[in-house]
């Protein structure tokens, strides 16, 4: 937990934060409404004798009281899919509508891409991209298991992504769930901090900046880009969004989020960020007993 000490000045009740990071996380699943309603899914779980708790902020997120959430009838049918509670936040903030064109540019293994398809009633075009061919097979498997017919899978580097392969030249919305140092996943993965270094953060931040710029360029004026990571490092969060504000036509916008969270930072380590970054959300493990996440919502403007 040593690397997390650097966040002591910015996190309220830091000791509770550290204590939460040391507790392991239970099994959360998302109801896949492409294949079943929430009501049917809950009835099926009850029939099987699997106890659940429904998240207050999102009726489609369930905490299951079982050690093997994959060995349930609801999982076999694709009614449910394993997804950490806080990982269901970015697609909700993206708020896609049926019929739209949406790009999930770092999509594997596909939890959020299939969640986006479900939020669109599986109508429209969801382009799920990932640069890692090995992870593409997991993405494809999940998309088919969950019955997402609106989803197309591509394997490219998001930083220089070409839309020439499609019949359209801009997306309505884009999710950048960026590769990151994953500090916020420590409760799921106790090894998450093993290779932590400031050098790693700095190199991954460079990639993040390249991806967010391309995401904004590939999204139409007035469209939405959501930037998220599962890490606490401001270098990978506010500083990346600040870079997008400096280099591309966009602004940070406010959004409602029914989970407890803290505002984005406007300063870190001698750097100042635009005051609009207060509209971003920092979700800490001790606030809702979840993993950690950062989410910022951008509107694409004229250059």
């Amino acid at each position: 937990m040593e690397p997390l000490e650097r966040y002591r000045p910015i996190i309220d009740d830091f000791d509770a934060f550290l204590a939460a990071c040391e507790r392991s996380l239970g099994n959360a699943v998302r109801v896949n409404t492409i294949k079943a309603s929430v009501e049917r899914t809950l009835a099926a779980l009850a029939e099987e004798g699997v106890a659940y708790e429904q998240a207050d902020w999102n009726p489609r997120v369930l905490r299951l009281e079982t050690d093997s959430p994959g060995s349930t009838w609801t999982s076999f049918h694709g009614f449910t899919t394993g997804q950490e509670e806080v990982s269901a936040v970015p697609p909700i903030v993206l708020d896609p509508e049926p019929g739209e064109r949406v790009w999930d540019c770092c999509a594997a293994p596909g939890s959020k891409a299939t969640q986006i398809a479900a939020l669109m009633d599986d109508r429209g075009t969801v382009v799920a991209n990932d640069n890692n061919l090995g992870r593409i097979s997991a993405l494809r498997f999940n998309a088919e298991r969950l019955g997402a017919t609106s989803l197309a899978v591509t394997n490219d580097d998001a930083r220089n992504y070409s839309l020439e392969r499609f019949d359209f030249d801009r997306f309505d919305r884009t999710l950048v769930d960026a590769p990151c140092s994953c500090e916020g996943t420590i409760r799921k993965n106790p090894d998450a901090l093993d290779n932590w270094s400031e050098g790693h953060i700095s190199s991954v931040a460079g990639i993040q900046k390249g991806i967010i710029r391309r995401a904004i360029q590939a999204t139409r004026e007035g469209g939405t880009v959501v930037y998220s990571t599962c890490t606490f490092a401001p270098e990978e969060n506010e500083a990346v969004v600040q870079h997008a504000l400096d280099e591309e036509g966009c602004r940070v916008v406010d959004f409602d989020l029914a989970l407890e969270h803290s505002p984005g930072l406007t300063a870190w380590d001698g750097d100042a960020f635009d005051s609009s970054l207060e509209n971003a959300a920092r979700i800490y493990p001790h606030q809702n007993d979840t993993g950690g996440f950062f989410v910022a919502k951008l509107e694409v403007t004229a250059e």
Binding site: A36, S37, H77, M120, A148, T149, S150
Partner: protein, 195 residues
């Protein structure tokens, strides 16, 4: 689908790219490729799935005889990893629907649906073959289904094209021959479940 080709010019299937299925036989330019009409007719004739179920979908071939169903936008041909889901294997004597397709669209079926009790469903999900002498319908590929959870009254308002169209929920594809139902659930989708 006029693309300036001579009508007698034939192409071969390129297994590395997605090609949209021709609407009908008259528009076919690749030997052996299924047509949209044949695919929709198969689902209607064999399983009673209304053809209009697929009005908003396109069908594609990538890989020899592997047919995909897609609801989004894309030009043809297209070189990407996947669009929508695989739905059917053609280029063999009996066309075989996929488990994932049947789980997604099988609730529209009215024919060749074999209803299993919970223990039979459990064995089906693990990939086991089982003697089911009581089936007196057609032999060949069937949709195996069982009752799970509540019926259509639980349907969501903005929750998508859920399967809650019927009481029965499809498990996958089975092959019925000689009094035996063989589970076609692929290995990666098989599960050990409680009955």
């Amino acid at each position: 689908m006029s693309d300036g080709r001579e009508s007698d010019e034939r192409e071969t299937n390129d297994g590395q790219r997605f090609d949209r299925l021709p609407a009908t036989d008259a528009e076919r330019t690749v030997d052996g490729r299924a047509t949209r009409e044949e695919v929709v007719d198969l689902f209607a004739d064999r399983f009673g799935i209304p053809p209009e179920t697929f009005d908003d979908y396109t069908f594609w071939e990538k890989g020899a005889g592997k047919i995909w169903i897609y609801g989004g936008e894309a030009p043809t041909p297209l070189r990407i990893e996947a669009i929508g889901m695989t739905c059917l294997r053609t280029r063999q004597e009996h066309w075989k629907p996929t488990t994932d397709f049947v789980q997604r669209f099988g609730h529209h079926a009215t024919e060749c649906v074999i209803e299993l009790d919970r223990e039979q469903a459990r064995r089906f999900a693990t990939g086991e073959d089982q003697e089911l002498e009581w089936w007196d319908g057609d032999w060949g590929y069937l949709i195996a289904a069982h009752e799970v959870g509540v019926g259509p009254e639980g349907r969501p308002v903005r929750d998508g094209d859920a399967v809650d169209g019927s009481e029965l929920v499809p498990l996958g594809v089975g092959l019925y021959v000689h009094g035996e139902l063989r589970s076609m659930v692929p290995k990666g989708r098989q599960r050990d479940l409680e009955s």
